[in-house]
């Protein structure tokens, strides 16, 4: 039986995986992967609530904009990573402690 809670559990699993990835990794790109997982968990929740609780399409629109923002975030974030690598030859999160190069 598929209910709302089953979708929420999957969303929770996605969120927790993203959280653990973000906390435990020291690689900036891996941290961005974790952010993608967390954003997906949020979008999945919106769609699940749209289906099971109130049947209007607003949740889909919210998820659509979450996807848009996730893509923009990934583009800018990876741009910063690449720039940082060009300057410091490192993608270690602890090296990114200074605001100036």
């Amino acid at each position: 039986m598929i209910t709302l809670s089953s979708y929420l559990m999957i969303s929770l699993a996605l969120f927790l995986s993203g959280l653990v990835v973000m906390i435990s990794r020291k690689n900036i790109i891996a941290i961005l992967l974790g952010i993608e997982l967390i954003l997906n968990a949020a979008a999945l929740n919106f769609v699940a609530y749209t289906r099971f609780v109130n049947d209007n399409i607003e949740g889909h629109i919210m998820s659509l904009f979450i996807i848009v923002i996730a893509a923009a975030e990934a583009a800018v974030g990876l741009g910063i990573v690449i720039r940082f690598f060009q300057m410091r030859e490192s993608i270690h999160i602890d090296d990114a402690a200074q605001l100036q190069s």
């Binding site: 659509l64 893509a71 923009a72």
Partner: protein
């Protein structure tokens, strides 16, 4: 909660399963037929007979990234424009086409601004062209003469 409308995804799942079965099946079936006597030389990466130096997983030029960056922005804009494009005809039939055309054109205009910026700044050039100074041209000519 049987919902027959989900059946439309059944062929997709079946076809993807066929893809997996084809690859796995052919590799397993082939294991019975094909020879297997690997040696060091055979397993080395092909480099025209030379001994490979270093790993191939090295740094690449950043222009690959810039291309994929522009692509993903266009991709997302396409994803936003598809539903609007799908309802354009319906809106036009009820006489509200002007509003939709205006918002669509505004959307595309902003998109075009981005690509014009990248064009002017040279991000769309695969090989960056640059102008030589007179001194450099002289140096180049000197090299050719000597």
């Amino acid at each position: 909660m049987s919902s027959p409308n989900l059946d439309v995804y059944m062929p997709i799942v079946i076809l993807m399963a066929f893809g997996v079965v084809a690859v796995v099946g052919a590799l397993l079936f082939g294991r019975l037929l094909r020879p297997s006597n690997p040696n060091t030389l055979k397993e080395s990466p092909y480099e025209c007979g030379e001994e490979p130096i270093g790993s191939a997983w090295s740094n690449f030029n950043v222009r690959f990234y810039v291309v994929s960056l522009i692509f993903i922005i266009f991709d997302v804009e396409g994803a936003l424009m598809f539903p609007v494009a799908a309802v354009f005809k319906k809106f036009n039939e009820i006489g509200e086409g002007a509003v939709l055309l205006g918002s669509l054109l505004l959307f595309i205009l902003v998109l075009v601004l981005g690509i014009i910026y990248c064009w002017r700044k040279g991000d769309l050039d695969w090989v960056k062209s640059f102008k030589l100074t007179d001194e450099q041209i002289k140096q180049l000519n000197g090299i050719e003469e000597s």
